[in-house]
Amino acid sequence: MAEVLDLGPAIGSNIAFLGERIGCKIHVKDLYADLERHAREEATLSCDHGADSLDAVLCWDIFDYLAAPAAAALAGTLVRALRPGGALLALFGSGNTADRSYTRYVIEDDSHLRYRSVPAACGRQRSLQNRDILTLFGGLELFDSVLLKSGVREFVFRKPGEP
């Protein structure tokens, strides 16, 4: 059974899609809920999973909300936790760091996400350039990237090696 780590809040339809339709074991670790503590205490956001233990990670746009050192630390733990051949999905916004909200992404079907903004403890910290994103996930290979009309960039990385 494939194991997926979801760094966003638990959303019923995402659980149903991943668990019932795809047949994954899902680990939910809502890092958005930790953002306020992270901002207040400079606490480290990390992934508790061991090396090579996950088949996929759904980061959503969490990296837009992290300062550079915290983002690098989290990315490092995620890269380590992925199994060879494992995939990582991350979304990156186009800016507007004054907006104190974050986005909940809802998987509608195989090819559609629905999203909505909800209030957040802190706004986006920065807008990463593509080269910064590639550096952030240096241990992974870029598998696909898409620019949406909204300006959001979707990246899928894979960990090198045979599954």
Partner: protein
Amino acid sequence: MKQESVTIGKSIVIKGEVSGSEDLTIEGHVEGKIELRDHILSIGSSGRVQAHIVAKAIVVHGEVTGNLTAAEKVDIRESGAVDGDIVAPRVAIADGAKFRGSIDMRHEASATASDRSAKGRKAETFTPAPASANGEPVNV
């Protein structure tokens, strides 16, 4: 035939093992282990449970810390909060509900949430394909 049901009231605190053969609603505080293999367990909005739970179905309006195993379904309602691992063939999480842990929806009702072995593990992977939320995607 009328289905029997029992409620553990708001002021009741139980530490130990709870088991039975009727539906149960918890509005109080329970610590330990709860086993209702053929019945429905509801944790009310004032219920606080720190326990390993095994039941036919589990409905959470209150707070649960511990692993949940259900033969049919785990249902976390809007006011519910669960910190633990879930094993059930169906899991419903309402908007606004809080959950942290893992969810295993294998159709093995007898599996327990603490069974973290890699039995039956296959080398399958899931690739989250980029999905367009706003019109046509453009490769970058």
